[in-house]
Symmetry: C2
Subunit: 463 residues, 2 copies
């Protein structure tokens, strides 16, 4: 009985992160290590070349696509070639949606004229009949206005959600959140009012003459939904001012498969010397939307995560904890990779000291956002002086990443997101324009070096 | 006599900046004003549209070119149309150099093969004879190595200065300074050793496969000098490893005019209510190199400076000091505009509270660099909490701008430079790639809003 009790105690202890240990304050050694890490990444970093390879030789890689299968093999091989201590995959079952033949939408108006809209179906959208849906249009700011409009006004109509990005916000992520409801749940919310189609002003921070539509996921609905470029949205609004009876014809040829599609998280490890069964995760997501090359979203986070391990290994650093680069599956349309990672961590009694994610693009780093207890937050903030003032200048209270969210939710694992300069991200996010040429080598590598430095500090000083 | 004395006293007082006055610490009013300024620029800013116009309808504008004449007229009209209180020009006489027919350089080697180099003559370079100069090559790191090499080894040769950018520096401006001697004074230094030509690895932060040569000024010399792309430089080095006797043939068709060329500083003013004869300057330089469109260097600084006045006027702010947007002539190959501005300030007994320059590209702002007394520096630092952490996060001790340098030198005027994210600037600086499409609207406008906020704070609180 006592033995059994001891056994339980051992399980409990092994499932908890190490309690905060007395660790020396940051020192000249830390300063020299951070400098060595930055030098290694800036001079010998391979993330940029890996990203070129991923973008041009594989390209976009939505869950269920051949490209995603290739990307899993590719990233596994990259990490094996770098001779990480262990490279393996985790089986994941992900939602399966395909766009099919290119979508279209056009306006017909005897008063305002006929013209095509530059559009992309939103991810997860239902298909239209082959001949499309034609209906007149009700313009609303966002789904919150559906109820006031009411079924009588909305039934049989296409709803246009027009909410623009609020340009007064400094961080564009805030704009995205503020304007996003039309895409996130516009179709799902509109369904009960008898709406037959939803079109939205695309979620873009680009200037008004930008003609690039953005895709991205929304809640499941029988109502087909698409995004139109800012330029098209403004043209539609102008036309609606002249003719409230104009019609839109929209065609979407998507298919949603009931059966989930097998995919994989890809994981590389540097084994810890003191706490080999406790983990520090650094990750991004390997899947992308089916347009562009998935460069900034989130090829950059993947190659940065691999670079963290490569650089630490290259400078001969022997971690105390096991450091994992996790390339998550299916962030874009399901989050099945992140959920599965947390599920397996539970099954395997894995303990995580912290998890870091890069999923805001490979731009110049500006800070970290951290969701953790106040003591951990203050500890990480005490490391700020180690970073150059043109890289990491703050540690936000709050932040993390979609893929590491389940770890935080299930285990209270501290989660940390790399915050980068956000101005260019939502110009190209989820578009044909998210391509390798938009990535600057040094910006990408500064992000990787910032993450590697944080991993080093977490590994040395604990949390 | 007493009246005359009083007159002298008045002159002396009027020539000195106001002594530091007791001013209230930053307040909610300041915070609201900074927010209002940022909102105005981010929502209604015209800098981006003005820059498009300047880049596409005028383009590159070296001193002495027709385009520079057009740019003077254009910027005067822009500020007149904005109904600034006063718009005027200052006559400037600038050095006059033209590139002429496109330069060329090629390698000949029986062992390593023959190939062309991707080159641009450095500004101010002497011409070669029409048939070019052909000579074998001595590779040196930088001009400091000339003396050790000695005349015997160098006479009749082309010297190749190979110093690369040191990628371990975080701010790319530091790389530029560190690697720049080959261009800044390579030809002038090499002349006395009987060197017949100087070629350098171009001053670029871009990856090794980048094939874009950068131009830029160097000290006067009879020795022709050009820059070759990073890709060409590495190809040359590889060839030199195989064949130390290879030759380079270089042709430069430039012309330097003895007579200076007339050009203009263009100035717009918002008149001060309390100190109309004391000035706060915000500026950039209107001239550019003769390649690309002069977008980031320094079209952005010009349109940002105009935007500062536009935004302050638009929100109805009545400045105490006279606020000047100064678009300086001839920064690139002479600095005659900045020198002339200071000269006229002296002639006219003008007093300047401070001068701000934007000449590091229109990228996201990160800080200001300030050359001033410690009290002024600490005062400006006390305003940091007014800025969003994703814009201005530091006030460097040291900094300013080339064009406002003479003001600082002659009057001890505090000079302040906008420091922006530097990672992309030296990829395109002084090249065919410095074009409008490299500028992000919000990044540009965040810089303008940061400058306008600083102008407001200087105007309100003094220095």
């Amino acid at each position: 009985m006592r033995l059994l009790f001891l056994y339980f105690i051992l399980i409990i202890v092994s499932c908890q992160p190490m309690p905060p240990q007395p660790s020396p304050p940051i020192s000249k050694v830390d300063s020299a290590m951070v400098k060595q890490i930055f030098d290694e990444v800036l001079v010998n970093g391979q993330a940029y070349d890996q990203l070129r390879d991923l973008c041009f030789n594989i390209g976009p890689r939505l869950s269920g696509s051949e490209n995603m299968v290739k990307a899993v093999d590719w990233s596994k091989k990259v990490m094996e070639d770098l001779e990480f201590d262990r490279v393996f995959t985790q089986d994941v079952l992900a939602p399966h949606w395909v766009r099919g033949k290119k979508e279209s939408a056009s306006v017909r108006s005897k008063i305002a004229g006929n013209f095509d809209l530059s559009v992309l179906a939103n991810g997860n959208s239902a298909a239209t009949p082959k001949k499309g849906i034609t209906a007149s249009v009700v313009q609303l700011d966002s789904p919150k206005d559906l109820e006031a409009a009411g079924e009588a006004k909305l039934k049989g109509k296409i709803v246009y959600f027009s909410r623009p990005f609020n340009q007064t916000f400094i961080h564009t992520g805030r704009m995205y959140g503020d304007a996003g409801a039309g895409r996130f749940n516009g179709a799902a919310s509109a369904e009960k009012y008898g709406v037959v189609g939803v079109v939205i002003r695309t979620l873009s921070s680009a200037p008004n003459n930008d003609d690039t539509p953005h895709t991205g996921n929304g809640a499941a609905s029988a109502v087909p939904t698409l995004s139109m470029s800012v330029k098209s949205a403004l043209a539609l609004e102008k036309a609606l001012e002249k003719d409230q009876n104009l019609t839109i014809t929209m065609t979407i040829n998507s298919r949603h498969f009931d059966e989930k599609t097998p995919t994989h998280n890809v994981i590389g490890e540097l084994k810890g010397s003191e706490f080999p069964d406790q983990y520090i995760v650094v990750g991004g997501h390997l899947d992308s939307w089916d347009v562009g090359q998935g460069a900034h979203d989130d090829g950059t986070g993947c190659v940065q995560s691999i670079e963290v391990l490569r650089a630490l290994k290259a400078i001969g650093y022997k971690p105390r904890y096991t450091i994992r680069a996790v390339l998550f599956a299916n962030e874009e349309n399901g989050l099945a990779g992140g959920e599965r990672y947390a599920e397996l961590a539970k099954e395997n009694n894995e303990v995580h000291l912290a998890a870091i994610e890069s999923d805001g693009g490979g731009f110049t780093p500006r800070g970290f956002g951290m969701t953790a207890g106040i003591d951990s937050l203050m500890k990480v903030r005490s490391w700020l002086p180690l970073f150059n003032k043109n890289t990491i200048t703050y540690i936000n209270n709050g932040g993390g990443g979609a893929d590491i969210g389940p770890l935080g939710r299930e285990f209270n694992t501290p989660t940390i997101g790399l915050v980068v300069d956000s101005q260019r991200y939502f110009d190209i996010h989820h578009t044909d324009e998210d391509t390798f040429d938009k990535v600057n080598k040094r910006e990408l590598h500064l992000g990787a070096a910032s993450m590697a430095s944080l991993v080093y500090l977490l590994d040395k000083h604990g949390l």
